[in-house]
């Protein structure tokens, strides 16, 4: 065993343990770590957003390259501060409107392509199939997608035949959820194994761990 002498490793190790204590119950050490986390992360966010988003997308083109086209977003950005002045606070909705307009406009054709066209395309049965197993799988997939879509059909009461079909849809949904859950366990355990390896290996220096 060679316990680390690097003070930064100690900081990281103590903070790691502090977060783990929450599993026992809420306590002052965790509360400290949580507030430190929130403070550091917000500060980090501000600095990074300034250097990586504000500077290249607004400051550089407007104040260095003097591209007057960028007065518009700068003006919109300034309007956020109108929130502080009750009389003008309604103007804060303008930048939000700009973001929402651009975001919604971009998403419409893209969502059509990725969510609807692609998924429909790969669900439609395409004969011939190289073997029966593949055909049966494609057929089950096809039935699954249709029944799940029926489950999300709101215009008709889910009774009788439609009720039965939507019930099959729920079965597919539940099997899917169960499979996803079971499949994700491994990834999450690996994260914890990583933290334990940090504590035992890098901090406490137990070399068999790494």
């Amino acid at each position: 065993m060679h316990i680390s002498t690097d003070p930064w490793v100690w900081v990281a190790a103590i903070l790691t343990l502090a977060i783990f204590t929450f599993l026992y119950k809420d306590n002052p050490l965790f509360k400290f770590a949580e507030h430190l986390f929130v403070g550091v992360a917000t500060g980090y966010g501000l600095v990074i957003i300034y250097f990586n988003a504000f500077k290249p997308n607004l400051y550089q083109p407007l104040f260095v390259e003097h591209n007057l086209l960028y007065i518009i977003p700068f003006f919109f950005g300034i309007l956020y501060f109108s929130a502080a002045i009750p009389k003008f606070s309604y103007m804060m909705r303008w930048p939000i409107a700009l973001l929402l307009g651009i975001g919604s406009g971009l998403s419409i054709p893209l969502s059509f392509q990725t969510y609807i066209v692609e998924h429909t395309k790969s669900t439609i049965l395409r004969f011939p199939y190289p073997n029966t197993v593949l055909f049966i799988n494609a057929l089950i997939l096809f039935i699954g997608v249709l029944t799940v879509l029926i489950y999300f059909y709101f215009s008709y009461p889910h009774k009788g035949a439609i009720g039965t079909i939507s019930r099959i849809g729920i079965i597919f949904i539940m099997i899917g959820f169960g499979a996803s859950f079971g499949y994700t366990v491994m990834a999450r355990f690996s994260l914890l194994v990583g933290r334990i390896q940090f504590l035992l290996g890098q901090w406490l220096g137990i070399h068999t761990v790494m």
Binding site: W8, V11, A12, L15, T16, I19, F20, L23, A33, H35, L36, F37, V38, G39, V40, T42, G43, L46, V47, N57, L58, Y70, G77, A97, L98, G101, I102, S104, G105, S107, I108, P109, L110, S111, T114, Y115, I116, T120, N137, I140, L141, F142, V145, T147, V148, L149, Y151, F152, I170, F172, I173, M174, I175, G178, A179, G182, T184, R188, L191, R195
Partner: protein
């Protein structure tokens, strides 16, 4: 009236322009797209100012409460410290800012993320009970897949194949069905926003 109309006009114009540009390959449309993206990033970066104001206000308010005083001071000081070292001494590798990120924020982040391992266990223990048809289905598939992703699963002949099949067929079907519905909902909401039918974002 004006207060509501202007933002609605803005969403309409930007929304229509942005959805049409997808179909126009001409460089004019492409550069409009690039400018819009830069505006988008620029305007949203300035929104962080509100975040900072709210953050400072929230924790300053809590400085008056004895049980929270110390902790909110920690949050405020940590925030200030990051700003000073970040703006004052740069953010490149080797700076204090970078070291704080690497040795304070990253371990806190990774450890919080790793709590999920524990929560997976307790959630499975608590919720995976054989009550009702659907819960049972969920339990059985999760159980099979958990078996299938471990080494022991390989000793039972059908488990690895069954796990693959569950992931590639029913799981995919359920995801696709949900996503087609989600896609339709997303598009219709976006359209409603652009057309000014959905206006709750204006604040009630």
């Amino acid at each position: 009236m004006l207060q509501r109309r202007i933002p609605l006009v803005i969403v309409f114009i930007t929304g229509v322009l942005m959805s049409i540009q997808y179909f126009i390959p001409h460089p004019i449309s492409q550069s409009a797209y690039n400018i819009a993206l830069m505006w988008f990033r620029g305007v949203s970066s300035m929104a962080y100012a509100i975040a900072v104001i709210s953050f400072v206000r929230h924790h300053s308010r809590r400085l008056k409460q004895p049980q929270n005083r110390f902790y909110s001071a920690v949050a405020l000081l940590a925030f200030l410290f990051m700003c000073i070292v970040g703006f004052g001494f740069g953010i490149e590798e080797g700076t204090i800012f970078y070291k704080m990120y690497l040795n304070v924020q990253v371990p806190l982040q990774a450890t919080t993320f790793s709590l999920l391992a524990f929560y997976m266990a307790s959630a499975a223990y608590r919720a995976f009970r054989v009550k009702g048809f659907e819960a049972t289905l969920l339990l059985i598939t999760a159980f099979i897949v958990m078996f299938g992703v471990t080494t022991i699963g390989n000793y039972i002949p059908f488990i690895p194949r069954l796990t693959e099949w569950l992931m590639a067929v029913p799981n995919l079907a359920s995801k696709r069905g949900i996503l087609i519905g989600v896609g339709l909902g997303m598009i219709s909401t976006s359209l409603k926003i652009i057309l000014g039918i959905e206006r709750n974002w204006l604040g009630g």
